[in-house]
């Protein structure tokens, strides 16, 4: 394409291929064909990933800002309400109520008014029953003769005279909203822009912080426990190390729920560990240790579950380290510790890096184990996401929480790449 400037051979003009076209161009064409062929080879996988992974993720993220439901369900009201002054203290006038009557009548016909009610109820408790109640009655009205409607709406429910109800409708009438993201960081759209939620409703920032700190703690304890095991695996004779490998992999073949429940039985106050401690007299019977339904329980159970993801990358990296380096270091006078710390350990860093990234990212999104053994202090942000997906049906908020989590993971990944280097990660 850019073969007009000929920087490779300024004296003789462009170098030509056998058929007379400039070599550059024919090379580019050949390369393009090659790339196309390569692309076609990976096309099935690419399309598969697009359809089953990238598109759903994008679709879910879109929900965190999408808010078309208000203007679609109440098109006339939204237009009529545009001039209303939300800062004042009078509810809108008859024109808006007439528009609302027309909108709700159509919406009730299509049964979308309750849907809108549930949507607005996330922002202002009470809207759900307000719309459900109104839909039933408005359906019976004759739009041409039954006016004025303001009175009639106030008859159905006094809340229609409440400024906050109208403020909510007006605030959430644009097709896009920042409301979900604000909610995800414990804020809300007030009358004068974003503001913090009341103290006793703030939860998400705390949960994000807790999720990150606990995932970090889990990653660190996986490193501490996994490193020696990986070293043994890499250095023991084949037969023993194979047996050990099976022990490492065994948890993989056991159901997650079984493993989590087993920890419950071990750690609870009337559990096996406490029983043994009481029996040998280390702990008195009325002061049994609390090891589950708190952060400790979550960290223990999740470290156990995620340990193989740490051991395997470390093991495969350690296996590829030539033992003669250590011997060389020692023959040159290094102590055991120096040989390990200056020679062996730096070579295992890529394995630690790979394991840490795997464990950290898996931990940050875990929700079954924290839900079962986390109690009140050991639950993660993912438990809230699951709650909003399956119970409260507030998918917009769930998407916003997930979006933030995704951003956090990407930031961590970027930071890792910046400080350690992603090229340094080795899975084997």
């Amino acid at each position: 394409m850019s073969d007009t400037t000929t920087d490779d051979s300024p004296q003789n003009g462009p170098v030509l291929a056998a058929d007379g076209t400039p070599l550059r161009r024919s090379l580019a064409r050949a390369l393009r064909r090659q790339k196309l062929r390569a692309l076609m080879l990976i096309a099935p996988l690419l399309i598969f990933i697009m359809v089953t992974f990238i598109l759903p993720v994008a679709d879910m993220l879109y929900r965190s800002v999408e808010n078309g439901i208000v203007s679609e369900t109440l098109p006339r009201t939204v237009v009529a309400l545009a001039d209303w002054d939300a800062g004042g203290d009078t509810p809108p006038d008859e024109a808006v109520f007439a528009a609302l009557a027309a909108d709700i009548q159509i919406a009730a016909e299509e049964k979308t008014h309750t849907k809108l009610g549930s949507r607005l109820n996330y922002e202002n408790p009470g809207m759900s029953s307000l719309f459900r109640k109104s839909g039933r009655q408005v359906q019976r009205w004759d739009l041409n003769t039954d006016g004025p409607f303001k009175e009639k709406f106030l008859d159905i429910d006094d809340d229609w005279g409440d400024i906050d109800v109208w403020r909510t409708i007006q605030t959430y009438s644009p097709a896009m909203t920042s409301g979900y993201y604000l909610a995800a960081v414990d804020m809300q759209l007030g009358a004068d822009g974003p503001e913090m939620r009341p103290e006793n409703e703030r939860i998400y920032l705390k949960l994000f912080g807790r999720t990150l700190m606990m995932s970090l703690a889990i990653t660190l304890s996986c490193i501490a426990l996994g490193y020696p095991v990986a070293w043994l695996l890499a250095n023991l004779p084949m037969r023993t190390s194979n047996l050990l490998m099976i022990l490492v992999l065994l948890p993989f073949w056991t159901s997650l729920l079984v493993r989590t429940s087993a920890w419950k039985i071990l750690l609870q106050q009337q559990g096996v560990i406490n029983d043994i401690l009481v029996w040998i007299g280390l702990v008195s019977d009325d002061a049994r240790l609390v090891m589950i339904n708190n952060q400790l329980g979550t960290i223990i159970a999740m470290t156990h579950i995620l340990l193989p993801f740490m051991i395997l990358p470390m093991y495969s990296v350690m296996q590829s380290i030539n033992p003669s380096y250590l011997r060389a270091a020692k023959s040159l006078g290094a102590t055991d510790w120096t040989a390990f710390w200056r020679v062996y350990f730096p070579q295992t860093v890529p394995g630690i890096g790979a394991g840490s990234i795997l464990v950290f990212i898996l931990a940050i999104g875990y929700y079954i184990t924290p839900a079962l053994v986390g109690g009140t202090t050991g639950t993660f942000i993912s438990n809230r996401i699951a709650f909003h997906i399956s119970t409260s049906l507030n998918w917009g908020l769930a998407a916003a929480l997930g979006g933030i989590l995704l951003a956090v993971v990407l930031v961590f990944y970027w930071a890792y790449d910046k400080f350690v280097g992603i090229d340094n990660v080795k899975l084997g």
Binding site: T114, T376, T391, L393
Partner: protein, 365 residues
């Protein structure tokens, strides 16, 4: 010769195919509850209609989210879904379940009463076809030494750490807990939702819960409390009455029921929106059979949940395997239902998110 037989066989299958294809995907909770539905509903129904084939899916726990996803994808694969009352209200609000005229669709009671009267208060949503009444109530261990001779006889024992020391198990959800807390904070039953509606009402309930917070193990699956009680991990805990029945009567653990102020909930069918007419008609026919007086009474032979029809109550008999009389184990039994609560679904539909946010923030403190 062979060819003609083959052709005949083929045409025969082609003719009978539409009748054979009476597959119905029924979504339920799995476990003992689903078994009771199979024994009481689908097995006798299959005997009458050999072509009928029930395919069970144990997804009721995530039914609301899954139905919404199916609806968005435009491909509803479920025919009949068993959900709890509040979920039915939500599905109805979202337009994901169809409205059902119970008087038209369901069978009249054996005593001739119209379905509307027979089901009575359990008809909590236009989309909801009730099956059972279950309750969330407390069970306590009968062998706690620290309690001496006293045993919990009323709800507020749960909040009384002096007379009844030990850990409690409560559901990790504001629903029911807020009501119980207010009752034991001196609020009259009739004023519960007025108090909750006031500014500071939810906070008042949380403050009461705060007095026992350090002693509470929070559960999220109904099976947790029975395990916690059986292991002695807690001395008193809330769960569904059917779970306690199996701990006490089937596993013979030293546990007893505390029925005081049990909270009634209803469980029943909803029919997803977006079925073809043919499928919908088949579902309606099955539902009519499965919710008639005898069928609902039969279900109580297999699980200790009360039938939603008044006309079924007198027909409740003995447990099919244990052979014990089931009536005393029903939450609706007058002896057990001297004092009970029914969640105000309207209030919860409006305030669930708000109360949940406050409850979770309080838990995380």
């Amino acid at each position: 010769m062979k060819l003609t037989t083959l052709a005949a066989a083929l045409s025969a299958t082609a003719l009978t195919l539409p009748a054979v294809a009476e597959d119905m995907t029924i979504v339920s909770w799995g476990g003992a509850y689903q078994t009771s539905q199979q024994k009481a509903y689908t097995e006798p129904y299959t005997e009458m209609n050999p072509d009928f084939n029930a395919i069970w899916d144990e997804s009721s726990g995530e039914a609301v989210a899954k139905l919404r996803a199916m609806d968005e994808a435009g491909n509803v694969t479920w025919d009949l879904v068993d959900v709890e009352g509040p979920d039915a209200v939500r599905l109805c609000d979202e337009g994901l379940a169809i409205e059902v005229d119970v008087d038209e669709v369901l069978a009249a009671g054996d005593d001739g009463s119209a379905p509307t009267d027979d089901f009575g208060p359990s008809l909590i949503s236009d989309c909801f076809i009730p099956q059972i009444v279950f309750s969330t109530t407390f069970g306590y261990r009968t062998d706690v030494e620290a309690w001496g001779d006293s045993k919990p006889e009323e709800l507020c024992a749960v909040f009384d750490l002096e007379t009844f020391p030990g850990k409690r198990a409560l559901q990790r959800s504001p629903k029911k807990n807020l009501e119980w807390a207010l009752l034991c904070d001196g609020v009259a039953q009739d004023d519960l939702y007025d108090v909750l509606d006031e500014d500071g009402g939810v906070e008042r309930a949380l403050a009461k819960l705060d007095t026992i917070k350090d002693e509470v193990v929070w559960w999220s699956a109904g099976a947790e409390t029975p395990q916690l009680l059986a292991d002695g991990e807690v001395v008193i805990g809330s769960t569904y009455n059917g779970r306690l029945f199996s701990v006490i009567e089937e596993q013979h653990q030293p546990v007893a029921m505390l029925w005081d102020y049990q909270v009634f909930d209803f469980d029943g069918w909803v029919i997803p929106a977006g079925l073809t007419e043919e499928r919908e008609a088949a579902v309606m026919e099955f539902v009519k059979y499965a919710t008639d007086t005898q069928r609902l009474a039969d279900q109580a032979k297999y699980i200790s949940y009360g039938p939603a029809r008044a006309s079924s109550q007198p027909l409740v008999g003995k447990h099919a395997e244990l052979g014990i009389e089931m009536a005393p184990h029903m939450p609706t039994n007058p002896e057990n239902a001297q004092r009970f609560l029914v969640n105000n679904l309207d209030w919860w539909a409006d305030n669930q998110d708000d109360a949940e946010a406050k409850f979770q923030a309080w838990l995380a403190q």
